[in-house]
Amino acid sequence: MDTLEAAFGLILHWDVVTTIAIAAIFGLFVGAIPGLTATMAIALLVPTTFFMDPVPAIGAMITCSAMAIFAGDIPGTMLRIPGTPASAAYADEAFRMTQKGEAEIALGANLLFSAVGGLFGTAILMLMAPWLAEVALKFSSFEYFWMALLGLTCATFIGTGAPIKGLISLFIGLLVATVGLNNPAGVPRFTFGDINLLGGIDFISAMIGLFAVSEVLRVAASGARSLPVPQASVGNLFKGWGRLFVRYWPQQLRGNILGTAIGVLPGSGADIAAWVSYAVSRKFSRTPEKFGTGHLEGIVESTSANNAALGGAWVPALVFGIPGDSITAIVIGVLYVKGVNPGPTLFLTNPQTIYAIFLIFIIANLIMVPFGWGAIKLAKQILRVPPKILMPVILSFCMVGAFATNNATFDVSVMLVFGVLGFIMEENDIPIAPCILGIVLGPMLEQNFVTSMIKSDGSFLAFFERPIAAGLGLFTLFVWGASFVSSYLAQRRAADDPSPA
């Protein structure tokens, strides 16, 4: 208890509180702008932390990242432009709710479950960090290969309509991921000798193009004659929350657990957590046909997961100094500068700092509620702007966002090409979500496949030799088998049933 008191003492200073409040607003702002990720928000904070004490410095980073991940949902829901990659998984679903006039319900749920997910991740971090970090350290390329393959299997659950078109979309994404030099062999692929393509196709610019620019093109094609969709007001937010919480508690819990687990594994973070959770939610849903039509269930699960992943990513970062995602990679550097050296001994030698970090996590997720609510109310005004004005403005933000990912006009070209591609794909009922998942997971799958083959001297058996790898591998094969059998049975049933579907 003394430690806890000392930890409270570290936090309850006006400078710590002010820093956290400013960082919260900054995180909301950056996260809501497409093209600027939570990672970038943290990188922009780094120079200012040089002049702070350890606790406010770390507090600023925790608060900023939590806010940014939530804020990414706001433009994703209202304009179909995911503010951060972590919101991409359910941007389409949430946008359809906005089209039905339910933007406030979607965003309110995002806010609630983001906060609860964040708290869950924190609780796991507090209670099980040293133990979980040990497990995470047992993962080598064999385990990651199966993980990536499992993640890709999700793509077949995400797409609605014809599964074959979902697969094609996934393959397009996987091929996009192969462009450039960033492959295990270190040779340029599909670059046409262009220096910019050598760097590969930036995932964020491609995402802005596929989601937002394709939407701009669609609205422009029809002449933007429509009027703004009237949005229902929820009024008292807290009233609706109790109901949501009761209704969606299994989804929320599953999202939390999955999100934290994916966050703990080094190299996979909030964005992958959101994708996998969305797919899992659809797979286990009693009403999978409602997914993709503006249905809250999948949103709840994946928005819980991406915020829970943030806490999870701190587990290997604090215990072994191994970054769980790109955000903690930056934070570890700052921890060293502040003399809070990550390591198992940190929990013994410096417990009050560790507890202070935990407390800040809790505070950050609690103040997310009032701050986020304000942001939603403010941002909702955008939906009153007629589309003929809104669409050109969105286009300008897309262009700047794409430029900002790498500070190069080349990324604006990438955005445009993918905008047109996304437009053509959706005109032909090819879903774009699997394509994005392919771009995200493609490099992970290839990297871990090729390095595993090098390590095992070309033997496939090695993928089943390690206990965790064997478990994951068998599970993957089981999921595949089960999917084939169930789709075969569904076909049989359809064939036996003479009435037209």
Binding site: L174, L175, P184, F190, L217, A220, A221, P392, S396, M453
Partner: protein
Amino acid sequence: MRFNDAVLGGALLVFSIVIGLWSQSFPAIPGQEYGAAVFPATVATGMGLCSLVLIVSGLRQKGVALAFAGWAQDWRGFVRILVVIASVVFYIAAAKPLGFIPTMTLVLLANLKQLGVGWLQSIVIAIAISLLIQWSFGDLLHVPLPWGILSAYRF
């Protein structure tokens, strides 16, 4: 603007064959069997198989090779799409020499006008948004947006 599945599948089949053949030219990692070619070749194979399925189902459906429905029935829809694309291309070409604010103002103006917004409103919005972005991204977030001809007036 909907293509028949057979047309779509045919195009994808050609594409996957090109990718598959191209990837054969990638070198292997020295001393390793699995190099740069494995992954793209596998994906191209998968894509080729899917496009075959698509061709078969497209042929069964019959129907026209390219159907125009909704917005695509009106030629002005295509013009508007082309204007959006052209304005982004203009930005890519002109942003560096002209500078961000003038280029983005012109891009916004073109798009607002073509969707039927009035002149005064378009000009005010175009200039205001360009200035806002320059200030928020360029100044607050250190995104190096080019100043171009306005270099002397940077803020």
